[in-house]
Symmetry: C2
Subunit: 263 residues, 2 copies
């Protein structure tokens, strides 16, 4: 099978003009089929503040009322997605932006929770992904760029976690490609000691992950990445890494950056 | 050649929830290849006001500084485009949203003017359109939905008139399809007397247009539509009409609504 990279970037990177440019140059340089999934960054919070739309977070998840949905749709699927696509086009990478509604590429269902109403938050699984459409896009030489907006095919848009989108797309496409899923962030990988950026684990298995988690040794922000990373690895994604966003080119060339997820 | 509809809707329709839904039901019902191009509506102005970004118009064209570009990108390519796509998907129409940057589908150049700097405003012509990409999308059974955002392949996004985008796409695709370009708006067509909605001209040729224009008998808002309509007709688009947005289904069935553009 041919190799396909699914690469996730987060908010910190998007908020920093120079870092984002440096990253996109690395991404554009990958000489293989590839997909980019991007998170949101601080822009949505800034806009919500300016528009006096109060933001409520529960366990790191944004409660998405209608006003907040409009904001994240504007920021994620509009401003951030189109600016990334325009820059990639400038770098000679034939990018095409997607929300989950476009071509019905990601169909979510409203999050059900016994006590909390998360509002317009969409949950997805492997069957949510329109594999055929993504295959068609890649076969046309296009490079899909996904924002973290999905829909329910009932006319509603949803806010969905970008780590989850990256992991779920990778699971679906593993049936067609030899997939490598890379979660890029500002750390060198999973750190044994959160205070020490040189304590990167070269590999981590589920048992080690649960051990570190139960000992409270993991940074809170890394938990959804690791959760989605293990889910992807357990569901057919060939290789899964957490790497530093500055090391993308090195990872593509040598394949031993950051922390590799093992079963 | 097979028939292809290129249909343009404007801001008034987008601002009215019920009218937009009624229109999209008609659009989804068209049993032929089709493309939708949408304008902006008042949302961009409302957002600019809330964000204290002053808006400057010269001859009905928005001067687009960086802050205004961010706003129109968020509103047009984000909120409006994705909501229209999600609603069409609900109606069983396999819509896919585009800005001009996506797949390099519309490459514009910054407007040059001897005395006015329009800012991030992009001009386009027939050669700006990535015909091959649109052909590929339609052949995949997808229905492209264009927002009025373009790019220059140098990493910059631009604001481009939606009537111009519709007319220019129609010109380009006339080489492949039997094209019909429909400008939908809230009037019944070109009115001989702007005060009388029953004075619709069944046809209008260039001479008649220039005559009415010089006599000041045309509503200001109709001029860019008519300009783009004649340009399209003169450049190979088979049929061009200005019709009432409520009459789309009737036009598709009978083909004699509103005002037909003649050479």
């Amino acid at each position: 099978m041919q190799k396909l990279y699914i690469i996730k970037i987060g908010g910190n990177l998007i908020d920093d003009e120079k870092s984002l440019n440096d990253f996109l140059i690395q991404f554009a340089g990958i000489d293989a089929p590839k997909i980019l999934v991007h998170g949101g960054g601080k822009l949505a919070n800034t806009l919500a503040e300016k528009l006096d739309v109060p933001q409520q977070m529960i366990d790191g998840r944004r409660i998405t009322d209608k006003a907040t949905l409009d904001i994240v749709t504007m920021v994620y699927a509009g401003n951030i997605n189109k600016n990334i696509v325009a820059r990639l086009q400038h770098l000679g990478c034939n990018a095409i932006g997607f929300s989950g509604a476009d071509g019905n590429v990601i169909q979510a269902s409203k999050r059900q929770h016994p006590s909390i109403d998360f509002g317009f938050v969409g949950d997805i699984d492997k069957n949510s992904i329109n594999q055929e459409l993504i295959v068609n896009m890649i076969n046309l030489g296009l490079v899909p760029v996904f924002s973290a907006i999905t829909h329910d095919k009932m006319g509603n848009l949803f806010n969905t976690n970008a780590d989850t989108i990256a992991g779920t797309i990778a699971q679906s496409l593993s049936e067609k490609w030899d997939t490598e899923l890379l979660f890029c962030f500002d750390k060198n990988g999973v750190l044994e000691n959160v205070e020490d950026d040189h304590s990167t684990l070269q590999t981590i298995n589920k048992e080690e992950f649960l051990q570190l988690k139960s000992e409270g040794k993991l940074h809170k922000g890394i938990l959804p990445k690791l959760h989605n990373a293990f889910l992807a690895k357990e569901n057919g994604v060939k290789k899964v890494f957490l790497i530093n966003e500055n090391k993308l080119s090195a990872q593509i060339l040598q394949g031993n950056e950051g922390t590799e997820i093992c079963l």
